[in-house]
């Protein structure tokens, strides 16, 4: 029975880490790559097996738990190292292992000849390990272990080329900003422990499904604190600043960590703790609002980007914003579906961009590309498929997933929500068109030999492109909340009798179809327009952009938010810290201490002046002392 062996899922990559990390010094590049890929591959096979078994099981049996050992105990609180796999988890696991495996494979070619080859694969395997811990952990603390662990790997991998200051800065920034989120996460965990005295997801769900009598405010605070963690990890506004910088890492890392898996962990986690969200109603609008702001804001920024990877980075932020919009509406299934879809097509896009960068020898600025479709057609076509999926064009997977989110929210929050979704989608289509037009169409601005991609580049791109086209199947039947994906996932979001999310639709089908059509038409129009303008009339567009330098700069720098944080956080804190070192600690605290010493010294010096060295003087002092004593005696006697 494969269900018994789920602990092997994370264990296999861990073994890969140990083999490569401890013994890998003598290995050649091929052996290292083989070990790394095999460990993930075996894990993937196991995961497919588990998925298969889960599919044939009845919905009620789709929850597998396995507790390994007691980890931390404190009084009646027990925290185990134990795993929980349900449809929610297996969906995420499949994304991680599938995309992860493909990216491992891709890295063999991409990282060839790099000095930190072994280090790269060790970190990559370690990342898969922690990611699986995050997803499979059956309690909050274990999830937090994975949560921090992936943060660490992200830090290490962004800073892979650590000799570049920008790279190591970016890694550190990612870690620290994530820690800000984790701060909230941690406090949320504490509040859960204090309130429930357990951190086990299954137990928490059971408690929340019943009559628990816990005030809604407590639940809301818990939800908000945990959401803070998710905001940090998933690069949502206002903690998104680390993700664009994280593009300093090697491209496979961007694809795996900063597009397909880790940054989505926030969404996954919100889905994991959905009972809290369900029961503290006013948190959901906050989540939706954050998602909406992020989706539109990041899409705007993406339009202004010049770096191919930064476009994709902002796009990722924006798409995760969509997922949070879904979570904020309580349609977790749609959020998870978009997560899966996004994992596929954004992975594809990043790998494609990697192939492009590789082809043009490290050039990342799309202004300096152009006409690449002629030289690297496979890359170009798969890239286009990815972009279409991203823009939500029928029949790509993105169409189904995004539509589900936008329509699902309309039902809950009305037209404003829909407008936000709509605006975001149009902007998405715009920058997709711009990106493709600038990089692949029109005249070539790149002077130099273009590298043809080899098998290690092409195979992953093609596989992912195929997935991006056909995975939409999961999203049918459309316009219902009973898609194939929802049928599979549904049981995960079943909170007792009342809370099931997959109820019928509240708005008429015709209205829904109309909205979808409007969205699709506008999106197609936008993408075509952008493609056309940026390929044929590229010069006009470039002139236009240079005339509006201020605006473009504003977009390019992400609304100057980085600068803002630098002014209101980083600088003051630095100032406080240097001030407290130079003044507070040295002058005041230590000054008091040394001052005491100095006073003693001064008193001693003064008194030592009485030490004249004349014996007579001392004798006189004795006499004087006797005199005083006698005087005192007299006072007491008479």
């Amino acid at each position: 029975m494969l269900f018994k062996a789920i602990y092997l899922l994370p264990l296999l990559p861990a073994i890969g880490v140990l083999i490569n990390g401890l013994l890998g010094k003598r290995f050649g590049e091929k052996t290292v790559a083989f070990v790394a890929c095999t460990s993930v591959g075996l894990s993937l096979i196991l995961a497919i097996g588990i998925l298969h078994q889960m599919l044939i099981a009845s919905p009620a049996e789709r929850v597998i738990t396995s507790s390994l050992y007691r980890w931390i105990s404190d009084g009646s609180l027990q925290i185990n190292v134990g795993f929980l796999i349900d449809p929610l988890a297996i969906a995420m696991i499949m994304v991680i292992l599938f995309v992860g495996f493909i990216i491992h494979f891709y890295s063999i070619g991409y990282m060839e000849g790099e000095p930190g080859y072994r280090r790269f694969f060790v970190h990559l395997n370690l990342f898969i390990f922690f990611m699986l811990i995050l997803v499979m952990g059956d309690n909050l603390i274990l999830t937090f272990v994975g949560w921090e662990g992936v943060g660490l790997c992200s830090y290490l991998l962004i800073g892979h080329w650590y000799e570049k200051k920008s790279a190591s800065d970016a890694g550190r920034k990612a870690f620290v900003v994530n820690r800000v989120g984790d701060f909230g996460f941690m406090l949320g965990i504490f509040l859960v422990i204090v309130t429930f005295n357990t951190v086990n997801f299954v137990e928490l769900k059971t408690i929340l499904a019943g009559n628990h009598g816990i005030p809604t405010v407590t639940l809301a605070i818990i939800s908000l604190l945990l959401f803070t963690g998710a905001v940090g990890k998933s690069a949502q506004f206002p903690l998104h600043v680390w993700l664009p910088d994280a593009m300093e890492g090697p491209t496979p890392v961007s694809a795996l960590i900063h597009a397909a898996t880790m940054v989505n962990a926030g969404v996954y986690f919100m889905c994991r703790i959905f009972p809290f969200l369900q029961q503290s109603q006013f948190v959901l609008p906050i989540i939706a609002l954050v998602g909406m702001i992020t989706a539109v804001y990041a899409a705007c920024c993406a339009v202004g980007q010049k770096d191919i990877k930064k476009v994709l980075a902002y796009s990722t932020i924006s798409q995760i914003g969509y997922m949070f919009m879904a979570v904020g509406c309580g349609i977790y299934v749609a959020g998870m579906f978009h997560l899966v879809a996004h994992g596929i097509f954004k992975g594809l896009l990043f790998l494609g961009s990697g192939a492009v960068i590789h082809a043009v020898k490290g050039e990342q600025d799309i202004v300096n590309m152009g006409g690449l479709i002629k030289t690297i057609p496979v890359t170009a076509i798969t890239f286009l498929i990815g972009l279409l999926a991203l823009a939500g064009i029928f029949p790509m997977v993105g169409f189904f997933s995004k539509d589900a989110i936008i329509m699902g929210g309309y039902e809950t929050y009305g037209i404003v929500y829909w407008l936000f979704g709509f605006g975001g989608a149009i902007l998405t289509a715009l920058y997709c068109g711009k990106l493709f037009g600038m990089a692949f169409l029109g005249e070539s601005n790149f002077t130099g030999h273009v590298h043809k991609p080899n098998f290690f580049f092409k195979a992953p791109l093609v596989i992912l492109a195929v997935c991006a086209v056909f995975l939409g199947i999961l999203g049918i039947p459309m316009f219902t909340k009973n898609t194939y994906f929802a049928q599979f996932m549904g049981s995960s979001f079943n909170l007792g009798a009342g809370g099931h999310a997959a109820a019928g639709h509240g708005i008429p089908l015709s209205l829904e179809i109309a909205f979808t059509l409007i969205l699709s038409v506008f999106a197609i129009a936008a993408i075509v327009l952008a493609l056309f303008m940026y390929s044929k009339h590229r010069k006009t567009m470039v002139d236009f952009e240079s005339r509006h330098k201020g605006l473009m700069m504003f977009l390019l720098k992400g609304f100057w938010i980085d600068k803002l944080y630098d002014t209101i956080w980083v600088r003051p804190l630095k100032w406080i810290s240097f001030y407290s070192d130079s003044v507070c600690d040295h002058r005041i605290v230590d000054g008091a201490v040394n001052g005491t010493g100095k006073i003693a010294m001064e008193v001693g010096k003064t008194l030592s002046r009485m030490q004249t060295g004349y014996v007579r003087y001392y004798a006189v002092s004795i006499v004087f002392g006797v005199f005083v004593l006698v005087g005192i005696t007299m006072m007491f006697l008479f």
Binding site: V620, V623, F624, L637
Partner: protein, 166 residues
């Protein structure tokens, strides 16, 4: 009556001798006057019936201590030194203090003790401690101190040798 006359005479000799000790410029004269003063003191001891102490006074102080002084003065071959009193006002103040102290102490004693009579243990009054009793007490009750002083003497002798060596 004779006793009183003797007391006043000895007392006067003693005080004059002591003043001479501190005021005469020549050291050897000072020592000689101290000798005189101590002889007078021995006489006073006899007056008080402390014959043993008087004898010791003569043997130890005059026979040993003062001889030692004279010996050292001769050894160092000190030249005649004038009576150079230190001219610091401070010294005069302090001298005044000590004399004032003297007055105060005397006054205190007179104030506090005048009129009290020393009856001691009323049952076994003795005129004074006899030599026998002194010996018994010294070698029974105070034997430890006695022995310790002998050790002290030894240490002092060795110390003196070491200090003055070289």
């Amino acid at each position: 009556m004779i006793e009183q006359a003797v007391f006043w005479m000895l007392g006067a000799v003693m005080i004059v001798g002591a003043l001479g000790v501190i005021l005469l410029p020549n050291t050897i004269n000072s020592v000689m006057l101290l000798l005189l003063s101590m002889l007078a003191l021995a006489g006073i001891y006899v007056l008080m019936g402390a014959h043993v102490v008087a004898l010791f006074q003569i043997i130890i102080y005059i026979g040993a201590v003062l001889v030692l002084f004279i010996y050292v003065i001769m050894l160092l071959n000190l030249k005649e030194q004038g009576l150079k009193l230190p001219m610091q006002t401070f010294t005069y103040i302090i001298s005044g203090f000590s004399l004032g102290l003297l007055v105060v102490v005397v006054w205190l004693f007179w104030q506090s003790l005048w009129g009290t009579t020393f009856t001691g243990g009323a049952g076994n009054l003795k005129a004074s401690a006899t030599v026998h009793q002194l010996a018994v007490d010294l070698f029974s009750q105070h034997i430890l101190i006695f022995e310790l002083t002998s050790v002290l003497l030894l240490v002092a002798a060795i110390g003196a040798i070491i200090i003055s060596k070289k």
